[in-house]
Amino acid sequence: MKRKSGLSPLFWFGVGYLVLLVIFAIVGPNMRHPFDVKVGGPFLYPSDQFWFGTDEQGRDIFARLAYGARTSLVIGLVVQSIAVTVGLIVGVASVYAPKWISIPIQRFTDGMFAFPDLLLAIMIVGVFQMGVGPVIIGLSFTAWPAMARLVKNQIATLKDREFVVAAQAMGAKTPYLVIKHILPHLWGVILAVMMVDVAATILAESTLSFLGIGVQPPEPSWGQMIAVGNLNKNSYPLMLLWPCLILSLTIFALNFVGDGLRALVDPKKNQAI
C-alpha cells in the first residue's frame, strides 16, 4: 500500500502536538503550583484555580502532568541520544573495523536481541536503586542494539554505491569516508527512527514507573500517576483520565511524526508494517 507523497495531516497534527507538549513541559511547571505541595483539598474537580483538578493528596494535577512531561521527554531524549551514539559507533565498527573487533561486536549485538528488552530493563532497574538515573541506564542499555543494527544495515547498502567506491579509489581513509560520505546519508533515517524510539522509551519509562520501580514519588511521572489513578478510579476517574490521555496522545504524535519523516526520507520502505 503506497501512501501519497507529501506529508499527511496526521504528521502536522503530531508536530503541532509535540510543540505544545514541549512548551507545556518547559513553561507548565513554573506557571502553576509546585508539584509536591498540597494546594487544595483532595479530589477537587477542575476549576479556574486547579485547571485539571487535584489528586488524592490535594496536589495540582496540571503541575504534576507538566513535571511528568518534563521527566518523560528528558528521559526519552537522553536515552535515545545515548542509544544513537553507541549505535553509530557499534554499527560503523561492525562494518569497517578489523575482523577481531567487528565479529565479537556483531555477536554481542545479536546476543542482545535474544532477550526481551523490557524484561532486561526491569531487572537492571530493579537491582539498582530506583529513580531517574537507573531508569536512564537500564533503558539505554536495552535501546542501543536496535540502533546499531539499523546503522549497520544502512551502511551495508551504502558501502558499494559508486560515490563511496570512487572516494575509496581516490585514496580516502576510512574515518574520512565514514564522516564525509556515509554519515550524511544516515541522519534522515536515524532521525525518523529516533522519533518512534523516543515513543518506545517513554512507554518503557511509564511502564517502569507504573510498576513502582521507575521514577520514585514524590517526583511525578505519568506512569506513576496512572498507577495511583488506577487505585482511585472508582471515586475519582478524572485522575486516571488525564495521564492516560496525555501519554496516549504523545505516543500517537511521536509515531505520526516518525512515520512522516520516514516516508520523506525513504519513500520505498513506506509500507503498512
Binding site: L118, I122, I124, I226, K233
Partner: protein, 333 residues
C-alpha cells in the same frame, strides 16, 4: 567412496545444516541468560545492603548481621557465590526468600507459574485467532471500508499501552457495568467459574499481539494474492472461498507463525504489568514484588525462569516452522 557412505555423509550434512541455526540460537540464549544473571548478581553486590541485612531486620546490631552473613555464607567473594548459584540453578534449586518468612522459592514458582502460563496461552490463542481472521478479511477487502477499519483498530492496539487499557476496561466493565470482577484476587471472591476472572487480563494481554498479527497477516496475504498462481486459479474458475482458504491461506501464514513466537516475549513483559495491576499472583507479580522488596534470590530465580521460557518458546517456533513450510525445509538443506 561407496554409495552407502555417500548417502550417510549427505544425510549427516543435511542434519547439520538443519540443526546448526537452532543450536546457535540455543547457545545465544544460554549465553544471554548467563550474562543477565551475572549483571543482576553484580549489580546486587554494588547496591548497598545484602540478604543478611534484609533478613536481620532494621533493629539488628552490626554483630548480629555479621553473624548471619557468616551463616548464610555471604562473606565469601562474589565470583565463588555466583558459580555456586549457577550450579544450584542448573539443578533447579533456588534456595529460600530472604525477606520476611523464609519460603522455598521453588514453592513460590510452582504456585505462580501455572496461572501465568494459563493466561499467556489463552492470550496467544485469542490473539492468533482474531489476528489471522481480521488480517485475512482486511487483505481480501483491501482498501475498502472493512480494511480501513481493521487497520485503524490495529494501530490503536499497537500504540495504546496495556497499563492504560486495563484500568479503563476495569472502570467500564467492572465498576460501571458491573459485569466483570475488579481484580483476580478478591477478598470475598464469589464462586464463579475462573474464566470469568481471567477475561480482562487475557483480553488486555492479547490486544497488542493481535494488532501486530493482524497487520502482518494482512501484508502477507496481500502479497500472496498478487502472485501468479492465484491469477491462474482464478482463471481456472476456483470458487473464492476455496481460493482464499486452500490456496492462499497456508502460504500467507508462515511469517505470521514466526511472529507468534516473538510476541511471546511481549506477553512475558506484558504479564508483569497486567498481573501487577489486576492482582494475579503469577510470575510477573512475583518478580515485581521481589524487586520492590529487594529479595535477591527471588529476583534471580524469576529472571532466569522467564528468560528460559522465552528462549524455549522461540526454539519451538524454529522447530515447528520447517514442518509447516516445505520451502524452509528445502532452504535449510
Amino acid at each position: 567412496m561407496s554409495d552407502v557412505a555417500l548417502t550417510q555423509n549427505r544425510s549427516r550434512a543435511k542434519f547439520w545444516s538443519f540443526a546448526r541455526p537452532i543450536l546457535l540460537r540455543l547457545l545465544y540464549g544460554l549465553v544471554s541468560l548467563l550474562f543477565i544473571s551475572l549483571i543482576t548478581f553484580v549489580a546486587d553486590e554494588i547496591a548497598p545492603g545484602d540478604a543478611a541485612t534484609a533478613r536481620a531486620g532494621e533493629k539488628a546490631s552490626l554483630a548480629q548481621v555479621e553473624k548471619l552473613r557468616e551463616e548464610m555464607g555471604l562473606n565469601r567473594p562474589w565470583p565463588i557465590r555466583y558459580v555456586e548459584f549457577l550450579g544450584n540453578a542448573s539443578r533447579l534449586e533456588f534456595g529460600e526468600t530472604t525477606v520476611g518468612v523464609p519460603t522455598p522459592i521453588n514453592k513460590l514458582l510452582a504456585e505462580s507459574l501455572p496461572i501465568s502460563m494459563k493466561i499467556a496461552v489463552m492470550a496467544i490463542c485469542l490473539a492468533a485467532f482474531f489476528g489471522i481472521l481480521f488480517g485475512t478479511i482486511a487483505a481480501i477487502r483491501e482498501n475498502k471500508l472493512a480494511d480501513r477499519g481493521i487497520l485503524s483498530f490495529s494501530t490503536l492496539g499497537v500504540t495504546i499501552p496495556n497499563y492504560v487499557l486495563l484500568p479503563i476496561l476495569v472502570y467500564v466493565f467492572a465498576l460501571q457495568l458491573d459485569v466483570l470482577p475488579t481484580s483476580y484476587e478478591l477478598p470475598n471472591r464469589q464462586v464463579a467459574p475462573e474464566i470469568f476472572y481471567l477475561i480482562i487480563p487475557v483480553v488486555v494481554l492479547a490486544l497488542r499481539p493481535m494488532a501486530t498479527l493482524t497487520r502482518l497477516m494482512r501484508a502477507s496475504m496481500v502479497d500472496t494474492l498478487k502472485q501468479e498462481f492465484v491469477r491462474l486459479s482464478v482463471a481456472k474458475g476456483t470458487p473464492p472461498f476455496r481460493l482464499y482458504a486452500v490456496h492462499c491461506f497456508r502460504n500467507a501464514l508462515i511469517p505470521v507463525l514466526t511472529a507468534i513466537g516473538t510476541s511471546f516475549g511481549y506477553l512475558l513483559t506484558g504479564s508483569f504489568v497486567v498481573e501487577t495491576a489486576y492482582l494475579v499472583k503469577g510470575i510477573g507479580f512475583l518478580a515485581i514484588d521481589a524487586i520492590t522488596k529487594k529479595d535477591t534470590p527471588l529476583i534471580l530465580a524469576t529472571t532466569l525462569v522467564t528468560g528460559f521460557l522465552f528462549i524455549v518458546v522461540n526454539l519451538l517456533v524454529d522447530l515447528v516452522l520447517p514442518m509447516v513450510d516445505p520451502r524452509i525445509r528445502e532452504s535449510q538443506v
